[in-house]
């Protein structure tokens, strides 16, 4: 099944508030990791959906597979989340990159999504002159029926 089907971009009921520095970290990570997918945790405050820190994780997929998929072991994620909790940071969601693909969620992203969680996807495209370039970043949130994800507008904030 194609993962490139157009997605409904009408905004859902929530807005994700992302500190500029956190978004810059996500973009840096996506460019550095190109052509592989990168992944990390969106940390901050769940109340108000505020992301103050992007915590990079290691994509455990390797080689060609890592250009199209990512996976992080559950206990690795749990340990990272406990370390963030010790700093007073909650998990608001997760981010990952789509190298040479749009910032739309894929069928795999939908199947693997948790409710009540923001999923930021950043599209990073290879470019002959400028190198890996961020072309789009969108946030998505699982609908209650698990049938689709809703587009969640991103509001940039300055802490």
């Amino acid at each position: 099944m194609s993962s490139l089907t157009p997605r409904d971009l009408r905004p859902g009921p929530t807005t994700l508030r992302v500190h500029r520095g956190a978004l810059a970290s996500i973009h840096d990570h996506a460019r550095r990791g190109f052509p592989h997918e990168v992944v990390g945790i969106l940390a901050g405050k769940r109340a108000g959906l505020e992301v103050s820190l992007a915590h990079a994780l290691e994509n455990e997929r390797a080689g060609e597979d890592a250009t199209r998929r990512f996976k992080v072991d559950a206990l690795t994620v749990l340990k990272a989340e406990m370390a963030l909790a010790a700093k007073g940071l909650e998990v608001v969601g997760y981010y990952h990159s789509h190298p040479d693909h749009p910032a739309n969620y894929s069928d795999t992203d939908l199947a693997m999504a948790l409710p009540d969680t923001s999923y930021v996807i950043t599209a990073v495209h290879g470019h002959e002159d400028t190198g890996p370039t961020i072309v789009d970043t969108r946030s998505w949130r699982l609908a209650e029926d698990r049938a689709h994800m809703q587009h969640e507008p991103i509001e940039l904030t300055t802490p």
Binding site: F70, V77, H96, H98, T108, D109, Y119
Partner: protein, 94 residues
Amino acid sequence: MAVEITIPTALRAYTDKQAVVSVEAGTVDEALQALTTTHPGLAKHLRDSSGKLRSFVNVYLGDEDIRFLPEKANTALSGSESLIIVPSIAGGTR
């Protein structure tokens, strides 16, 4: 036996905000069934349409993933153990 199950943050909206849910069960599978009977909103996120645990749902008995226990979800519980549900993070463009 009373078994305590730790619920990941993202799923606590379905357990009245409780981080730990106590259920009566003799096996891991019974504990998970009791959990979704008490909190039915959890079922569709934990299991697929055929009733199997979703691939991103990991259940640990102590520090052991139940998929790697000899009896898997049929592992007996004596009542002093606790279960923890840990989602793994996965996805991608295909």
